[in-house]
Point group: C2
Chain length 436, copies 2
């Protein structure tokens, strides 16, 4: 088992995870769910050990004068640990994503094609300081049949180590080899695993924009995730003002560090005079700094707005700051979003169904919303049980990604000596192509 | 319209394709199928012009002493053009991949999530000397609602230009803007489009390994395709010898330049003495050069085998050459394939169902075959109508990719002022998560 004291090379460790994953890929749903239940029980039985390790992390974080929000994310309580354990059991209840038959087709008599879902293999997940990510991600990886290389934030190293040790010990008594999950504890190891494109099938980085971009730029392994989250709310001429203000406050001030928070409010010129004074007042009350374009400042001249520069449209504040721009039309809003947005989640407030439809078709994003907050962009809120990350890529999987992001498929073709020559040339036999 | 004489900059051309694609994305199935029919009719009416351009390409190719197989691929005949036109009409018959509702779920009363398939946007396809690719790819792109930037082999420039001109002229009378498809005619333009990651959503390179690797290494745009096609056939101890020889000959000698042809034959030691003399004789008769490991040469000492080196296991010959290696076990074969294979298509010949199952689970490839030729790995043979390429990536889409590779999805969420705050905190309202 590989926690901190592992004497094997990192490559040997990862290879052992790959081998364990090859067995896990063939395991029954029951065996996987049993292993998850063993993990849940072990976490219950070793709660004290885990909370003690977390106390040590917290003490060190305080001594290092780490910022309070980070300490809040780091902190485990008996109640939070109970939630984490419930989360493991919730994943056991999700339907098994492996072995699902997506295509079953006779190509010709005795020649049968199946497309069957299967695990990716080994997934590397690099996450921030939340120790609760360990149990959630481990549960998702085991359920989807994947090996897992974990790297948590250094502030959480004692908590993560305690959690992974408990998980590995629980797996000793299960059908799954404990090597299926391994924890990396040093930053150097990240660099090393980025080179292991023969051993690791997917990297999911969760962290700052800069960190995600570093990962994307320094590996041949596919990366699932998003660097930026520049989301917009467009207030159309026909928007309902009261509801729209509530949406804007939720989307900006509810949790400004979230990637699905809005950074820019676009306002149709025909509603600006009626809408903006109330909106800006609501932002001020919520402690949000407002940066406006010239027309916005002209519209609410006495409310102390800061002048927005071009750089503002490109900025993910991740803070209680919003930029506001007046646009002439729906198309102007769409063009702004397609130019400056990060293809994450974009919303329109309107009572005009035609405009809503145009917005949702023409805006180039994983999520397009009508009359609701961008902050619904989340795997749990979508009903996926849990999420491994949010992707802003154009190719699927995109948006909030649950178990689906840990799964691929294989084509299996079974014949009885069938050769292609039979189906080629002047006397080519036709395929039957009959779905079964 | 943009064939050779376009005076706009390349970026302006690509932007006009992107704009045309935004309209196409919203078009009805009927409008798209009508446009495809107009294209088919125009190709019929302008057959002479197209064949004359092709004659000029052929004359230039002969003068340049270009290899015969390339000239064969370049050549259009009235019959081949008729097949191409039939292919356009076949794509019109395929079901529309756009607008399919994949998820329809109530998150709470009045808050409804849909996941709907949609086009990627603009796709760049760089293909070899076959002019027939122009009509097939254009039909797939129009049907899937995507703009298309085409670049064909320079030998085919006159043929491709004639085809694209006819297609664009046909589109003038359709609902689709002719700028939806543009042809690049110089190699320099490839370099330029690789930088347009804001305008182009996917690149599909079809060509040599070296060329595909160059594309993969020089763009931020996602690349669909495969560099290598190192496929294997493993002859298990219980394989039926006669059928297996037929499969091996089909998979190696049928079309050795194909990516789904086999490069290495792995033979279980317990069948080597009975199998190899007949197999090698059949290879010799088919004109295939055989390179054997030491044990293979010992097994058939008087048949003039060349000694295989380690480099052979890594080589895609794309020619009438095969390497043969004797392995001790099924697991030995799987390990060889997972080490040297390119995750394309791998086959086992066996009468042991358990061994077949282990092989199909443990081999890491887009296609895993039992008792049939690897050359079935092809979109048409799978019943996809046509293919845009074959992907050896781990993430979907993989294997032969049809219309599915030109499609992504969007999450659309519609509410009535819904905010996340309602569903958070101590008095959190639960989500209903009810599939509709």
């Amino acid at each position: 088992m590989a926690v901190a004291t592992d004497s094997r090379s990192l490559l040997e460790q990862v290879k052992s995870t790959r081998l364990a994953a090859r067995w896990l890929a063939k395991m029954s749903t029951e065996a996987k769910n049993q292993a998850l239940e063993l993990v849940a029980q072990a976490l219950e039985q070793n709660a004290e050990q885990i909370l003690t390790a977390n106390q040590a992390d917290l003490a060190a974080a305080k001594e290092a004068q780490i910022a309070q929000p980070l300490i809040d994310r780091l902190k485990l309580s008996p109640a939070k640990l109970a939630d984490m354990i419930a989360g493991v059991r919730d994943v056991a209840k999700l339907s098994d994503p492996v072995g699902q038959q997506q295509i079953h087709r006779e190509l010709d008599q005795g020649l049968v094609l199946r497309r069957v879902s299967c695990p990716l293999g080994v997934v590397g997940i690099i996450f921030e300081s939340r120790p609760d990510a360990v149990t959630q991600i481990t549960a998702l990886a085991l359920k989807s049949g994947n090996g897992l290389i974990l790297k948590g934030g250094s502030e959480a190293v004692r908590s993560c180590t305690a959690l992974v040790q408990v998980i590995q010990q629980a797996l000793v008594t299960s059908a799954i080899a404990p090597d299926i999950v391994q924890l990396l504890t040093t930053r150097n190891e990240i660099k090393e695993i980025l080179t292991m494109d023969q051993q690791i099938d997917l990297i999911i980085p969760r962290g700052s924009n800069q960190f995600v971009r570093y990962i994307q730029g320094n590996t041949k392994i596919p990366v699932l995730g998003h660097a930026d989250g520049i989301c917009h709310l467009f207030v159309d001429a026909s928007a309902e003002i009261e509801k729209t203000i509530a949406i804007a406050i939720d989307a900006k001030a509810g949790y400004p560090a979230a990637c699905n928070a809005i950074e820019t409010l676009l306002v149709h010129k025909d509603i600006a005079v009626a809408f903006l004074p109330q909106m800006v007042a609501a932002f001020k009350q919520a402690g949000v700094e407002v940066r406006g374009c010239n027309r916005t400042i002209d519209c609410v001249p006495n409310m102390g707005l800061i002048k927005a520069t071009d750089a503002d449209w490109d900025t993910e504040y991740s803070d209680l700051i919003i930029s506001v721009r007046i646009v002439d039309s729906l198309l102007g809003a769409i063009d702004h979003i397609n130019q400056y947005g990060s293809h994450h989640t974009e919303a329109i407030a309107t009572t005009d169904p035609g405009n809503a439809q145009t917005f949702m078709s023409d805006v180039d994003a994983a999520g397009v919303y009508h009359n609701c907050s961008t902050r619904f962009a989340d795997g749990f809120r979508y009903g996926f049980g849990a999420e491994v990350g949010i992707s802003t890529a154009k190719m699927p999987p995109r948006g909030p990604v649950g178990l689906e992001g840990l799964i691929t498929y294989k084509y299996q073709l079974v014949g009885d000596g069938h050769v292609v020559a039979t189906y080629a040339g002047d006397r080519a036999k036709p395929f039957t192509h009959k779905d079964l």
